[in-house]
């Protein structure tokens, strides 16, 4: 219990204020550097992408349903790649969001301290595993398992990618949403309990909604990671550039396309520029994701 007296802040020493201003200036400088870098990357992507549209209509790129960069009748349609990214991301979201919300709620609201101290570093370890290791695991273990369980001809499909990406998104989603849940003042929980709500009701109807902005940001940032992930999906999704709505089909994501084809296409060809156009589109998507997450986090901080 705090006494009333301690609530009054004392006068702030002058020196602290100027130090604070200097620190702010340094941080602002660093922030504008990274913003500049971001802008330059985007400008570079667009610059390398634009020549494509001299020989290939922009409209056909954005709405084209086929990606056939090496056939005699080349097609640079973004849609199958977008669909692949969308399908894999959707699957990962469906798996990772409920799982990480559950884990975050458990860790912040239910688990005794000792379990929390074990779980969190464990999760952070997941984030430290290189994506090629996930990919390898997916090819060798998960693919076979999927093949057996669902009777498929190949276990390299969207579902495989979704599972692995869900695991890869867990650390971000759990850690950030747990932070948001723990930032909910104890006084909210007490108010709810004191009205005769159970601990479970308090968790679902007070704590979670109070942390909604932070939790949403956690989910979006986690998915941002999923969308940008390359190596794992390249290894496990089968890489057929086709439009599919089945998780058991082989798909190819935007990232995997760039990674797989960049090495073998000649510099300056339409194919080369098309890959940059795909990169620019990917950049835009992740940028929007992060911007939305940032806005939500800011709103959460305001309370």
């Amino acid at each position: 219990m705090r006494s009333t007296l301690s609530l009054r802040p004392g006068p702030r020493p002058r020196r602290r204020a100027t130090e604070g201003r200097q620190a702010e200036l340094v941080l602002a400088g660093l922030a504008s550097c990274s913003l500049l870098a971001l802008g330059l990357i985007f400008v570079f992507l667009v610059k390398e992408a634009l020549p494509l549209f001299k020989s290939y209509p922009f409209e056909d790129f954005v709405r084209g349903l086929e990606w056939q960069p090496t056939s005699t009748n080349v097609r640079f349609g973004l849609v199958p790649l977008l669909a692949g990214t969308f399908l894999v991301t959707l699957g990962a979201a469906v798996i990772a969001v409920p799982l990480s919300l559950g884990v975050a709620l458990f860790v912040s609201e239910v688990a005794p301290k000792r379990i929390r101290e074990l779980l969190k570093p464990g999760l952070e370890l997941l984030a430290a595993i290189p994506s090629v290791v996930y990919g390898f695991f997916g090819m060798v273990v998960l693919a076979r398992w999927l093949q057996g369980v669902f009777g498929l001809t190949s276990g390299l499909n969207a579902f495989n990618g979704s599972i692995l990406l869900a695991v890869m998104a867990l650390p971000t989603m759990v850690t950030l949403s747990e932070d948001a849940l723990r930032a909910v003042p104890e006084s909210y929980r007490n108010a709810s309990l004191a009205m005769g709500a159970s601990r479970w009701e308090t968790m679902i109807h007070v704590t979670l909604p109070s942390a909604r902005a932070g939790v949403a940001a956690a989910v979006i940032l986690g998915l941002g990671r999923v969308i940008g992930e390359t190596m794992t999906v390249l290894m496990v999704t089968g890489n057929a550039a086709q439009i599919s709505f089945s998780f058991f089909d082989s798909v190819r994501t935007m990232t995997a396309t760039i990674a797989a084809e960049m090495a073998e296409c000649a510099w300056g060809t339409p194919h080369y520029h098309a890959l940059f156009a795909v990169g620019a589109a990917l950049f835009l998507i992740t940028f929007v994701f992060n911007a939305v997450a940032d806005i939500l986090l800011r709103r959460g901080a305001r309370g």
């Binding site: 219990m1 108010a191 004191a194 007070v206």
Partner: protein, 268 residues
């Protein structure tokens, strides 16, 4: 029949028989091995305001939280003794703390509205207790806000965020929120200590008003406040209830020298 007790009215009127709402027998509370409440026995009459005073750290909040089993939320708290609400021990076997808290509401020292709309704050308790119909919820919200003397100020913005209200309004909102559950007893832990004098005055008027329908137990550091709002006062010191009786008597002719020392400001 619930037990009755005869207490001389605080304003010197004739003896009135009062129903006992809460009877406490040998209540002790420990934080780990630290005793915070030591063997307190006391009765609280129905539909009256009882003030609890005492120096910081003497156990007032702990005592209050023992009355709706909110101490159980904290780790390592142990409680002994009996707290009879209308004759039934709330610590007895088979008693559900969740049910007890619906009957014994609580208002905290610092206003703690949820970061939801005004409406959703007040509707929170009823919703948890199974009210789903919109019109019914609206009626409860309106009645509770009226009871908490806040309706006039917020009637046209029930959908706006509760956190936009002033501190005093927030505290009355918290009172409305507690009332919406239709408790029988209202525990208030220094409900005005974070408020300015004007807001404090409003909350005090409100408490007097509410005593018609509710049994109110209020912790306060402010002895003028205790004198203004309560009929009965209890003085705590080091976890013990030193003196308990009509408020005016306590402030004019305290029986215990320690009470006198505290009231005259010689310690605490």
């Amino acid at each position: 029949m619930p037990p009755t007790v005869t207490i001389r009215g605080a304003r010197g009127d004739t003896e009135t028989a009062r129903r006992i709402k809460i009877r406490i027998e040998g209540l002790s509370v420990w934080y780990g091995s630290l005793p915070a409440i030591k063997d307190v026995t006391v009765d609280f009459g129905a539909n009256r305001v009882t003030a609890l005073i005492g120096p910081s750290g003497c156990g007032k909040s702990t005592f209050l939280r023992a009355l709706n089993r909110m101490n159980e939320v904290l780790p390592g708290v142990r409680t002994a003794g009996r707290v009879l609400l209308d004759g039934r021990d709330i610590y007895g076997p088979g008693m559900d703390p969740v049910e007890i808290r619906a009957k014994v509401g609580m208002v905290f020292q610092r206003p703690n509205p949820f970061p939801f709309s005004i409406f959703d704050n007040v509707a929170y308790g009823p919703r948890r207790h199974g009210v789903t119909s919109r019109s019914e919820l609206y009626a409860i919200v309106e009645r509770s806000l009226h009871e908490a003397a806040l309706w006039e100020e917020v009637a046209d913005r029930l959908r706006s965020p509760a956190l936009n209200l002033s501190g005093g309004q927030q505290q009355r909102l918290c009172i409305a929120r507690a009332l919406a559950v239709e408790p029988e007893v209202l525990l208030m832990d220094e409900p005005a200590s974070a408020l300015d004098p004007v807001a404090t005055g409003r909350v005090e008027d409100l408490i007097a008003e509410l005593a018609r329908n509710y049994t109110i137990i209020i912790v306060t550091h402010n002895m003028q406040q205790a004198a203004r709002v309560s009929e009965t006062t209890g003085f705590f010191l080091h976890g013990e209830l030193i003196e308990y009786g009509p408020t005016d008597q306590m402030f004019t002719r305290p029986k215990d020298p320690r009470t006198e020392a505290y009231i005259t400001g010689r310690f605490g």
